[in-house]
């Protein structure tokens, strides 16, 4: 099971996020959900994960409000796992990980799956970090306000 958030870190949103999805499989399950997987077996075949592990991960994601269990869309009496709004809000996280991976783990000519804009069939624009008034920022232009207790 995923670890509990540590006390001295609980006021950092990154820590709470990592607590919810910070293990190997959870993020890949969410990625697959964005790619259209809905059924237990789809996730299992796509990921190659052991079934007991998948069972517990799906349960954690459902308990965490990231996936929802709904009746199967094909009319059978099985059920399916779909992203909740909270789960869909992970989209920028997945895109960020995808772009980082594309940039650093593949040779320029190496084939890899890629995310495209449906309308034009083009790859997405790189993510940009901007200030409230629209300036492009890099890490050095930012700071973290630590909460004092």
């Amino acid at each position: 099971m995923v670890r509990r958030t540590r006390f001295n870190d609980s006021d950092c949103p990154v820590a709470r996020s990592v607590d919810a999805i910070g293990d190997w499989w959870s993020l890949l399950i969410v990625r697959d959900a964005f790619d259209g997987s809905r059924r237990f077996g789809e996730f299992q075949r796509s990921l190659g994960v052991a079934k007991n592990i998948l069972t517990t991960r799906l349960r954690v994601l459902v308990a965490g409000g990231i996936l929802d269990v709904v009746p199967a869309s094909d009319g059978s009496s099985y059920h399916e796992y779909v992203l909740t709004p909270k789960g869909k809000d992970l989209f920028p996280v997945i895109v960020a990980l995808r772009q980082w991976g594309e940039g650093h783990f593949f040779e320029p000519d190496e084939p890899h799956s890629e995310m495209i804009d449906r309308r034009r069939g083009q790859p997405l624009r790189m993510l940009e970090i901007r200030s409230a008034d629209g300036r492009l920022l890099d890490p050095d232009d930012t700071a973290v306000n630590k909460v004092t207790r």
Copy 2:
């Protein structure tokens, strides 16, 4: 140690990214590095992680080209861990996780650390996913081209 990438997933950039940083501590170490932590002891106190765990995580991150070991900036003979360019490219991932956490794990009035724009002291703009030609996209506007082998 972090798990090896599975064969049936190795062509997905998300999988390779998760393989590199997809465990509890690695991402929090990177976050701390963005926040200015450089020394072993700083990371340890900030995270509350056992020293042997921190040792192996730092080694994995250095081996993965995300952190670099450099001589200490204070002239002592100790050394420090700093983000490489590859590590700095994780900035959007951290920001995405931070924004997701802020939006879903805190009450509106609950205090938490926040990332601000140094120049104006304002929180950052929310990340936006855009097509190559600049249209705002949501998950349903995108698709993933799977590589066929």
